[in-house]
Each structure stands twice: as structure tokens, then as C-alpha cells.
Amino acid sequence: MPMSRRRPWRVRLRESAVWRSIVRTPPLDSPRGRALRSFGNVFLHLYPVRVPRAVLAFRSTFRLGFIATVLFAILAITGTYLMFFYTPAVTMAYGDMQQLRTRIGFGQLIRNVHRWGAHLMVLVVVLHLVRVFVHGAYKPPRQFNWVIGVGLLLVTLAWSFTGYLLPWDQLAYWAVTVGSDLVHYAPVVGGPLRDFLLGGSTIGQAALLRFYVIHVAVLTIAFLLLMAVHLWRVRKDGLAAGDPPHAHDVTARAADDARIAAIAGAALDIAEPPPTVVTGDGATVARPVPRVLGVVPPDPLSRAARPPDDEVFSWPHLIVRHQVVALATCALVLALGIAFEAPLRDLANPNLTPEPAKAPWYFVGLQELLAHFDPLVAGVLAPAVLVGALVMLPYVDRNPSRRPRDRRLALAIFALLFGALVVLTVIGAFFRGPGWAFVLPWDALYFEP
């Protein structure tokens, strides 16, 4: 076989029996290969074979859900690394933190990346929620996936909060003291619930171990389950940005159909699209098939006649974009980890409260609210109503339109509530000093992430 000897080793490898037992589908360079890879490969199966072209636009999702998934992966990897060097005991935890800095190779960097990645994940998940709301992407058929998304947000917050305690320094101890004491304002159940979480009435060994187990095991399992359902449903329903235009607007959709029918010069049966479409210059062509941009001429039809379900292959168009976003996310957290050190204050001291003691930044808006209103209102009712409203939203908001001008009331209410939350958080984080007194951040900054 002189021929095979001359062929490059990569080709020979791909044709070997072992390789073909691992990758059982044709390569991705043909439509058939792309389709079969999506069906036959567990990882690529997360993507459909084809996606609507509109999904490729960055502004369709800002890739926020995908970035959150990437951050989850980064946190899982760095978190596993940290677990090798951490003991959840009050006598050990703080020393382990110092060892990470002084003795473990890249220990401090991994800790930095874990911390900034965690803060970034809370931020990205919240922005994802805002994006989905503004695009109306929680409307049918995606109502329940919104509810699952709210669950993922709560798990993310709980994750960040439980992780906050683990370094066992003054920052951790008092932020979690203040944060968990918010719970006890809930009538009847608040006190017992707080003690149940902490394993006692004060934060001590039991609380540290509980937070650790919740952080590394309970929430991880909960997150994976919810994320599996969340992604599965996105995969089944498609992205909202890829819905046919005006999919939820009956009149606009009828106008669209009439327009296409006029171009086709015939009455159009909506349920059964014709196999051919008439182009602008009168020629009859077959309905466009999914195509690879740049390979096939981009405009085989006149723009007006292009049917709304214009699709492209996920590989390479969407997946390559995702790879770029994933790399950019990794680069960002790595840069943050190199530039900024995760804080480690003095060893936790239950007898000495540093001034001021603030909850972690995502709860500091709640703390600010607590300074102005009755604890029952601010500490319990407000967050409960907020979460309840988020869960109920897709069932309360029956307006089928996703166009902003049809949703003025919904957008106004959301903007008001979200704006209030941002303002309270900014005031609490940057404008409060010792004794919760008002300070200007450029005079003295009392904010520690």
C-alpha cells in the first residue's frame, strides 16, 4: 500500500478503526456530516443542526446565558482545585487560605479567579434575566423555562453567599452574620430557619461545615439538574430571537403572510408553504435550503421574498461564535484574577465587628432598604414579593406581543423595580460608611467585594 504511506498521518489516523470507533460520524465539512454529528455526538447535541440566522447576531442574546454557563464551568474547575487545599474547620480554614497564598502553586491566582468569576456570574445571571425580560422571551411557549431560570438565579445567589463564609476572615464572618440575620425577621419560621441553616444560634463550626457542604455538593447538584432542564428546553423551543418575525403578533403576522402571498402572486396556505417561491425578476426557484454563509451566494432570493425561517448550520456559525465568547470570558476572569487579589482580612473574631459590616454586594440593597423600612417589610416581604413576582410573571403577563411599544406598562414596571434595586445596591455598597452613615465614595470607600 504505497499510497497510504504517503498520505499525512492525520488522514490515516482519521481512517483508522480506533478513531472511527470514537468519532462515528462523518466530518463536519459537509451538511450531512454536520447533521449526523449533531445527532450522534453528546456534546454537539446541545446544539441543533441548524439555527435561525437571527440568532447569530450578538444583540439577539448578548450571549449572557452562554457566558453564565462558561462561568459555571470555570467555577467548577477552580472550585475543585480549591477543595484540595481547604478544610472546613474554624481552626483550619483561615490558615488554609494563607497557605493558598504562600505555599500552593498558583493557589492565590486560582482563588482570585474563583472569587471574581463568582461575582461575575451573579452579575451575568441578573443581566441574562433582564435581557430575557426586555426581549419578552418568557412568553409562550417559554413560560416555565423562565421559572427554572429564576430557580437558577436563586441557586447562584445561595452559591455565592455560602462561599462567602468559607475563608473565615472578618469580611466573611460579618457579611454572613448580617446576611443570615436578615432571615430571622421572617415571622414564625425565620428564627428556626436561620438556626437550621447555621446549625446553631451563632455562626461557628456547624455553620462553616453546613455552608461548605451546601456550597460544594447540594447547590452543585441542584444547579446541574436545573441547568439540564433549562438548556434542554432552550434546545427544544429554540431561542426567542430566532422565532419567525411577529410570531406572537397576530395582525403583523397576517400582514407578513399577505405580503409574501402578494409576491408569490398566489393565495398562500399558511399551514402548507409552497415548495417554490417567485423571485423579484419573475423566476421560480425552490425554497431556500439551509446554507453556509459565504459559500452559497448570500442572497439567492430578493430580500422581500426571503421566508422568515432562514437558517444556517450551527457548525460553524454559532459554535465558533460561542468559542470566541468562551475564550473571551476565560481571558476576562484570568485578567481580573491577575490584576486584583481576592481580599483576606484578619481571622474571624466574633467579639469585634469591623466598621461597617455590610452584606455581600447583591444583598446590600436589601440591607439599605432595611435602614428605611420596618424589618418585616424590608427584610422579608420585599424579597418574597420580588421572587414571587418573578416566578408569576409569565403567567400574569398575558400580553402576547413582544414588541416594546406594545409592552409599555410591563417595561415601565420592570424598569422601576430594577432601577430601585440598582439604586439601593449602589447606595448601600458605595455610599454607606461606619454606623451606616452616608459617606461619599470619593471621600472614603467602604466597599469590599
Partner: protein
Amino acid sequence: MDDAMLPDPVARGTVTRRELLEAGWKIGGGLLAVAAAWTSWEALRPLADVSGGGVLALKPASSYTEGTATFVREGRLYVTRAGGALHALAQKCPHLGCAVPFCAASGRFECPCHGSHYDLAGEWLAGPAPRGMDRHPLQVIDGRVHVNTTVLELGPPLGTDRVRLPTREGGCAPPAP
């Protein structure tokens, strides 16, 4: 007896085997869930608080003079004498659990977290706290102060002003807005 004479099973109020089994696994599943919840609660509920259990025998009552607050580390509490009476005040702020320091300059307890102020009797003066400082029962036995840290009594409600104390100039943490 003739079969036709018997009422049909539905009318007699009996259940079919299928209905019984369908109800059975739901009841079984429910019992399993209750058992799981119960065992989880038994396993995870807080143990009796080991940190503050017991009666602390402290110094003679006469050593706590009017207008002073003495920190007792073992019980994380202050023994104060205000208006002639002795008080054992828990250090934990009833607002959000910060450790409240005593400010000698103002003669008050001033919480650094959110600006709650209390007088020497633990009565609320200012800030977002929902009540005065929590306290432990205090007894003087044979001239010595005994504080029972197993019992924590909630502080007096806002506006309580049984103990009138002279105000001093100065302060440590500014009061909340």
C-alpha cells in the same frame, strides 16, 4: 344469589384493584417523603446551644459601679449598672447580629454596623434596631453576680425609657439617619 342482584362495585363504594394500587404508590411515596423530611430534620436540626449554656458566677455586685459596662467574654455579654440596677446585656445587636461595643465617650452602646444606639440599661435610643438589647437573667447570690446564659430574654420594645440616664457629649459611631 343472582349476580344481577349485587350492586356494581362503584355504587357499593368499593375500589378496583387498579385504583387501590394507584392510590397505594402515591400514599407510599408520600410516607417516604415524610420519613425523609423527618430524618433530615432530626439529623440537621441545631444541637442544644453549647456556646452559652450555664450560669456564670461573676464578681461581687459592688464591683460594678454606676455608669459602667463590663464585658464578660465567656458569655459574650456586658454587665452594666444603670439607675442602680444591674443588667446582663447580650453583646449581639438585635438588629442584624453585629457585636455591639460600649462607647466610653458617650456612655452608650453604639453599633458600628447600622448605627443602633442603646443606653446602659440596653434600652433603644436610635437606629434601625427593632427593640432594645437582649438580656440574660441576672441574680445576686451571696453578694456575687450570677448570670444565666441559657436564657435569652428579648430586649424592651422601642420607646421604653424606664431608666433615665444623663447624656454625655461625644460618641463613637454616628447614629443612623
